[in-house]
């Protein structure tokens, strides 16, 4: 196949993308906050059918999801100290492969 077809962003045809407009990213972030708040308090309005009793606790899935993910990322970040190695740890560095056999 052909070589990678990238070129740099200073090409004349480059128009700003959707998220380049100021405020769009912030809007998405506030959107996430708002949806989370709504979902958390939605627990007030329906009967939760729980098989195990902790599943019935108020907002369990919400705070469990949040804590689980923060814990996951912090733990993984710690693991990097133990596990991370340079890219050529096993093999001597090869030249960046062009897309040879797509």
């Amino acid at each position: 196949m052909s070589a990678p077809e990238s070129h740099n962003s200073d090409s004349p045809s480059d128009s700003p993308g959707f998220f380049d407009k100021p405020g769009r990213v912030t809007a998405v972030v506030y959107g996430v906050y708002a949806v989370c708040a709504l979902l958390f308090f939605a627990d007030l309005f329906y009967h939760k059918h729980a098989y195990t009793n902790f599943e019935g606790w108020f907002g369990f899935h919400a705070w469990f999801g949040f804590i689980a993910c923060v814990g996951l990322v912090l733990a993984a970040k710690g693991l990097r100290r133990l596990l991370m190695r340079p890219e050529d740890y096993y093999d001597p560095a090869e030249p960046q492969e062009s897309d040879d056999a797509a």
Binding site: A42, K48, V70, R85
Partner: protein, 565 residues
């Protein structure tokens, strides 16, 4: 009207004929093979046929029942999608390898006895390695050898177990086996290797990301799900599988968070998804096994879709390292959209396919009161999978900071394959009834209850909230050019070093010994050997063939380790 043959053979034989078909006819041939095989499968009557007698044992080369049908069906749908995705590829080797590999996987699924299963089991290994070697680099060659050794070892264990089974029971039939059966443990290990059990898993993360753009997509579908099928057939209700599966769902996601190669991130999340299926097999109730089959079906589609989208990125930009990508949604909007649909499906968002299958498994576990801790692990893994597959993959490839890379959108055939896969992911999620009707047992399950939908949305959105907060505060670990040590370290560093030392010592010692020992040791040894080798001696007596097979398997394995690695 259609012949009652194993539809795997259509792909197998048709695949071997690919080199003879040239020009535009080849496109038609590559698309017609899986389509024809699908038609043959759907037309097959349920039951056992294709019986062959070998050495007095009856082989059942074709068994269609509800379990083998649903796996074969999704394998063939995947084969068709992959044929479309790889249509632009000019490398004949990859087309042949892909077809033969898919054919072998289908044929293995439909095998009614352990010997037929073994033959196709090994064929999947041999055919698939060419999808890695097709990269044609030194590195891919070495990865392929490692991959092949482990896959073949799995086959040898299967053969050893099968021989012990036939010794004890006189039959080769592949039915429920269980750990206590003769050879049961060997076969369990054989399946476990292909299923990427914890500590036996690393061939997957080592090899899959090193295959070609289209090769990785093909690899992701068959080998591990064939193992899931085999476990569901042979070891349903084996309690250890609950533990094994729970560990599988949880531990790969830590790696997925810090891995830079996005196809390797997907390989870790593949491992995590297999864990859900393994837990389902371990629980072994009808709901759990239905969940496993349904999840395998959905998983093949969305995992292939995710690998396809990353393949398109690799094709167009030359890299899938998170550290080098970003902002591609501007250049590849369709690929970004399809990737997002795959991400929503694997994360089990309501109205996407993962939701209607994963919730079956979790409900089946939750109904067993003593397994509450497994529910906790599975919920953790569900939040985690959204975190690394649902958010990380699309975010670092298509959004994040603009890497400045501008490229063309993926080729049209790739977009079509991704589009169809995405449509199936949404279709199954919105209307799961057709999938449920294919499952091994009658389904009495309602995924869309208020509880399910709201609790799942809470879990996912708060997982997204965690990502957002960690990103905004700069705590989230950046993508770095690096690799992470995994269990492959043992067989890539200390073991080869130790073996090299043993080999050197042995060669040296032998040279010294031939001179010195000829007189002092050789003569008494010779007479001793003659004694044991006599008919009533230890070595010359009648050996049970099961023990012989074990020795042979052990010796072949040891030989390969010492002289090839």
């Amino acid at each position: 009207m259609l012949p009652d043959i194993n539809p795997g053979l259509v792909l197998l034989i048709g695949g071997l004929l690919v080199p003879l078909v040239r020009g535009p006819a080849r496109y038609a041939w590559l698309l017609a093979l899986p389509a024809l095989a699908l038609a043959v499968l759907i037309d097959l009557p349920h039951g056992v046929s294709g019986e062959v007698s070998v050495f007095g044992y009856t082989l059942q080369t074709l068994r269609v029942d509800s379990l083998s049908f649903v796996f074969s069906l999704i394998f063939l749908i995947a084969a068709l999608l992959m044929a479309v995705y790889a249509l632009h590829v000019r490398d004949t080797m990859q087309h042949v390898a892909g077809m033969v590999y898919a054919g072998a996987a289908v044929a293995a699924c439909l095998a009614g006895d352990l010997l037929t299963l073994f033959i196709y089991w090994e064929l999947t290994a041999i055919a698939s390695v060419f999808l890695i070697w097709a990269r044609r680099t030194e590195r891919a060659y070495r990865v392929g050898i490692r991959y092949l050794l482990i896959q073949v070892a799995s086959g040898l264990l299967l053969l050893g177990g099968a021989v012990m089974q036939v010794q004890a029971t006189g039959t080769l039939a592949f039915e429920h086996i269980g750990l206590d059966a003769p050879g049961g443990l060997l076969i369990f290990l054989a399946f476990g290797i292909k299923c990427a059990f914890p500590l036996l898993h690393n061939w997957l993360q080592d090899a899959y990301p090193e295959a070609t753009v289209t090769g990785t997509v093909v690899l992701s579908a068959f080998t591990t799900k064939l193992a899931i099928y085999a476990l569901a057939r042979g070891y349903a209700g084996t309690e250890y599988l609950i533990w094994i599966g729970a560990i599988m769902t949880a531990f790969p996601i830590f790696y997925a968070v810090i891995e830079n190669d996005l196809r390797r991130v997907l390989a870790y999340s593949l491992n995590n998804q297999l864990g859900f299926m393994v837990v389902g097999i371990g629980v072994g109730t009808e709901l759990a096994l239905n969940g496993t089959a349904a999840h395998a079906f959905c998983h093949i589609l969305y995992k292939a879709l995710l690998f396809m989208s990353m393949g398109a990125v690799l094709l167009r930009t030359g890299t899938v390292n998170g550290s080098q990508l970003g902002g591609l949604y501007k250049s590849m909007p369709w690929t970004a959209l399809f990737c997002a649909i795959g991400a929503a499906s694997i994360s089990a968002f309501p109205l996407f396919s993962g939701f209607v299958s994963k919730s079956m498994i979790i409900s089946a576990v939750a109904k067993q009161a003593d397994l509450w801790w497994v529910v906790v692990v599975l919920l953790f893994a569900s939040a985690g999978v959204f975190h690394h597959s649902g958010i990380k993959i699309p975010y670092f490839a298509f959004f994040a900071h603009d890497s400045g890379i501008r490229c063309r959108e993926a080729p049209r055939n790739m977009l079509i394959a991704m589009g169809v896969a995405a449509a199936l992911c949404i279709g199954i999620g919105v209307y799961p009834a057709p999938l449920y009707s294919l499952l091994p047992y009658a389904v009495d399950y309602q995924p869309y209850t208020l509880s399910h939908v709201f609790t799942q949305l809470q879990l996912l959105m708060f997982s997204a909230l965690a990502f957002t907060v960690l990103m905004r505060t700069g705590i989230y670990p950046p993508e770095l050019r690096s690799i992470n040590l995994d269990t492959d370290w043992f067989y890539r560093r200390p073991i080869p070093m130790a073996l090299r030392r043993v080999r050197d010592t042995w060669v040296g010692a032998r040279a010294a010994a031939t001179g010195l020992a000829a007189g002092a040791i050789a003569r008494p040894l010779q007479s001793h050997l003659r004694a044991v080798a006599q008919r009533d001696g230890w070595l010359g007596g009648a050996w049970r063939s099961g023990a012989m097979v074990l020795w042979a398997v052990g010796l072949v394995g040891f030989y390969i380790l010492v002289f090839v690695v």
